[in-house]
């Protein structure tokens, strides 16, 4: 299963009239919405289903009548294989982040005559400083969205689980404002960390942690076809001869204007200027962890046995003792569809009419336990999913 994709298996005894309604021939590209609770039959209007969603996807495949699958809603902006409208340009001069976001959707409307294929397109909060001049000569909407967030430091876009797209920094997307302390992240993860303490949830989780320098760089050069602009740092690592290490990376970004190359180089170097943790986390059993821990959110990892030890400045009380967990970003989250959730297909039958198909009675529920991949505290999500060319 690739990033953002979904798959639902229906039970053997699902009536034909239900599986007929999942036929891609008839209801192809219907939206699949997973809600953390079932909505009572009479109340399951399209609006209510959308607003309850914690995940939304697109129905593309029905296999052996009972297994439905497809990509996440983001597919509407362009597939991971680059499919989608690519022959259109978008340029703007010296715009702020919010203005750039609005400008991109306005440009899409101007070129294609319809608004962007998402139910909302917002900057939910946070303050992102600086103006940039986006210049995109080709690429799908998705590639342009990745490009937009690459121009600023530590911002990203995400699907909000309800058919919409949000653009912001981590504070705007995950509501993580305020001083350091437990609430600087969405949850605490670790062995026997379950419970809720001072309004902050913990999940019993096992971690497999690796610490590495595989992405580390002492200099990053960004070029758009001409000479590269470099961002460098002072390192403490040395090569075998005893001189300071030189680890330079090359980033080709043809769509960046010359004036923004320095900012892009600095933003990229900011991501790889220290060692990285690469951690797999398995949540042992918790209901709908995806509702609390959204992909891209920060989490605290507390697992002494794996050597996870964070910054002393981040210490706080947890279960009666002072802990010093690592702050990490969730960059991938694979979670089961469990008994108690609501699973709906929203079939758009006309310009403003939707048929709600409630599959919750027929889903083969999966056992609890989810897997997450977490990375550097300030790892830009766009770095993970965007298509870039980086050479060592």
């Amino acid at each position: 299963m690739a990033t953002g994709d979904w798959s639902v298996t229906l039970r053997d005894d699902t009536p034909w009239r239900v599986t007929d309604l999942c036929d891609p021939d008839q209801v192809g590209y219907a939206s699949l919405v997973v809600a953390p609770v079932r909505i009572p039959d009479g109340a399951a209007t399209a609006a209510r289903v959308w607003s309850s969603g914690m995940y939304s996807g697109v129905l593309r495949r029905q296999s052996q009548r009972l297994v439905l699958s497809g990509p996440g809603t983001v597919w509407w902006a362009g597939g991971e294989d680059g499919s989608g409208d690519w022959e259109w340009t978008w340029t703007d001069a010296a715009v702020t982040f919010s203005a750039a976001v609005a400008s991109l959707s306005a440009r899409y409307l101007a070129v294609f005559g319809v608004p962007v294929p998402f139910r909302s397109w917002t900057v939910p909060g946070g303050t992102i400083a600086g103006t940039r001049s986006p210049t995109s000569t080709s690429g799908t909407l998705r590639q342009k969205m990745d490009y937009l967030v690459s121009l600023w430091t530590d911002v990203q876009w995400r699907s909000d689980g309800r058919g919409g797209i949000e653009f912001a920094d981590q504070y705007g997307l995950y509501g993580l404002f305020g001083p350091l302390g437990p609430s600087f992240a969405a949850a605490m993860l670790g062995p026997f960390a379950d419970g809720i303490e001072a309004g902050f949830p913990g999940f019993n989780a096992r971690t497999t942690a690796a610490k590495h320098l595989e992405q580390y760089a002492t200099a990053i050069g960004v070029e758009n076809g001409g000479a590269a602009t470099y961002a460098t740092l002072t390192t403490s690592y040395r090569n075998p001869v005893g001189d300071l290490a030189r680890v330079t990376r090359h980033l080709s970004s043809p769509q960046t204007v010359a004036g923004d190359l320095a900012s892009v180089a600095a933003a990229e170097l900011d991501l790889v200027d220290t060692f990285a943790w690469s951690v797999d986390v398995s949540i042992v059993s918790a209901y709908a962890p995806a509702d609390t821990i959204k992909c891209g959110a920060q989490v605290w990892l507390a697992d002494d046995a794996q050597g996870l030890f964070g910054l002393p400045a981040d210490r706080f009380f947890w279960r009666g003792e002072l802990v010093c967990p690592v702050l990490a970003r969730v960059v991938g989250h694979q979670w089961p569809i469990e008994d108690g959730m609501g699973v709906y297909l929203l079939w758009q039958t006309g310009a403003s009419s939707t048929t709600v198909i409630d599959l919750s009675d027929w889903v083969e529920w999966e056992p609890p336990g989810s897997r997450m991949t977490v990375g550097l505290p300030d790892l830009d999500l766009a770095t993970v999913v965007a298509q870039r060319q980086m050479r060592i």
Partner: protein, 447 residues
């Protein structure tokens, strides 16, 4: 005493000697077993209550999150097995130890720790300073049990800088304390290794006890019942828990004992446990003196073990809070410490003004911005009160309350043993054990 002890099992003299009658050694795997008999006539017999205590100690050894990765084994009849082992399995064959004449068969399977007679016990502390509003940066310390000699074999490996070892006996408990202090070393991770005697491992250890009697236990003020026995691991579900280390002890309480929303703090006077009752409360964003005060109680809705190890033990008590739901109060005691660390939160994380005060007004004197001590000693001991957060204090009563609403209320209550500085009994040394607060864990053993 004679008999066998594996970890805390078999260690408590009130429970009687435990004798093993069968053992098998297969390479590094050691299987040992014996009988416990429930019969009034037999000299080795145990009452129902004692059988319950012993059964808990057996199953608790390997329950999830037990808290001790290795345990010492001491066997007087066969001392060649004395040393450190890793528990693999622990079982007994009696589900309901109530029938007179029934024999309970227990069995442990253990794996030898490398260097098993005297392995390095590596302890790690993640950091060493309790964040506090008073700019207090006390001497940091680490305490271990008697290891035969002033500090036994000790190899401290702090990350950067070097501590000054200072072995300090502590009367009957024979502990030692390693102290160091410099601004640069106050907040960082430290690693300590020491090697010592299996028989001394539980000296002054943080211990959690539970009560198995059929009546509701009373406090030491009125005369305490005797059926409190040590708990192993987390697998215990009686409604009564207390945590202590042989010098201080604390027990959360509820209305059924006639003292709602309170905890009993006790110190060891040298011959008996002396009791002091404390009560808790929280207030909203208005001033403390208005009607928006909610004392905790009347009901203690639950108490369970968060961590149970000789270095640190923590219990969590859930107090009913009037018209607010509940509050979680965590009590932590560490080996060698004469303070109890108390952390109060509400599950939903509402910021509250937190309060703690002795039930009987206790005149106190300010020591510094974070500490106040009882003015008049009794039996050479004084109560000491600590709060790392900015707070208001009432010196006449001993009350401390945190006036800026905070999601977490942190306090410490302790005992100063008033016999002078040679045994590190000054208030400064004692509060250092609270304000410098390494979360000590035994992480590895072997040599």
């Amino acid at each position: 005493m004679a008999g066998i002890s594996i970890g805390r099992f078999g260690l408590n003299p009130t429970l009687g000697e435990i004798h093993a009658d069968s053992m098998k050694l297969d390479g590094d795997t050691f299987t040992v077993s014996g009988d416990l008999i429930r019969a009034a006539a037999d000299t080795d017999a145990l009452s129902v209550i004692k059988l319950r205590a012993v059964c808990q100690q057996i199953v608790g050894m390997v329950a999830a999150g037990a808290g001790e990765i290795v345990v010492p084994l001491v066997w007087s009849e066969s001392t060649q097995f004395d040393g450190w082992w890793r528990p693999i399995s622990a079982e007994h064959d009696l589900a309901h130890p109530v029938l007179q004449g029934e024999t309970l068969r227990w069995q442990f399977q253990l794996e030898r720790v490398s260097g098993w007679r005297a392995p390095w016990l590596e302890h790690r502390a993640q950091l060493t300073l309790l964040p506090n509003d008073h700019s207090l940066v006390p001497v940091t310390n680490f305490t271990g049990p008697a290891v035969g000699g002033s500090a036994g074999e000790l190899s401290p490996y702090p990350t950067g800088g070097g501590p000054t070892p200072f072995a300090a006996g502590d009367g009957s408990t024979s502990l030692w304390r390693l102290e160091w202090g410099s601004a640069a070393e106050t907040v960082r991770r430290v690693d300590y290794r020491y090697a010592g005697l299996a028989a001394a491992h539980y000296t002054g250890a943080a211990t959690i006890d539970t009560y198995y009697g059929t009546s509701v236990p009373s406090t030491n003020l009125t005369g305490e019942e005797t059926e409190w026995y040590p708990v192993v691991g987390r697998q215990v579900s009686t409604p009564y828990l207390r945590v202590g280390n042989g010098m201080v002890r604390v027990r959360p309480m509820d209305w059924s004992t006639g003292a709602g929303g309170r905890a009993e703090f006790e110190w060891w006077s040298g011959s008996a446990w002396v009791s002091h009752m404390f009560e808790f409360g929280s207030a909203g964003t208005t001033s403390w003196n208005t009607a928006d005060v909610s004392g905790f109680g009347p009901t203690l809705t639950g108490v369970h073990v968060l961590r149970n190890s000789p270095e640190t033990s923590t219990i969590r008590a859930i107090y009913d809070v009037y018209q607010r739901g509940s509050a979680q109060v965590d009590f932590t005691v560490r080996r060698g410490g004469k303070t109890v660390s108390i952390v109060m939160t509400e599950p939903v994380g509402t910021a509250r003004q937190w309060m703690i005060r002795p039930v009987t007004a206790t005149p106190t004197t300010s020591v510094d911005a974070g500490t106040m001590a009882q003015t008049t000693a009794s039996s050479n001991r004084k109560l000491v009160f600590m709060c790392p957060t900015t707070h208001t204090r009432n010196l006449a009563t001993g009350e401390m309350f945190i006036t800026t609403a905070n999601a977490t209320g942190r306090f410490g209550v302790g005992m100063q043993h008033n016999t002078g500085t040679a045994w590190h009994e000054s208030i400064a040394a004692m509060t250092a054990h609270y304000y410098s607060q390494p979360s000590l864990k035994l992480v590895a053993a072997g040599r």
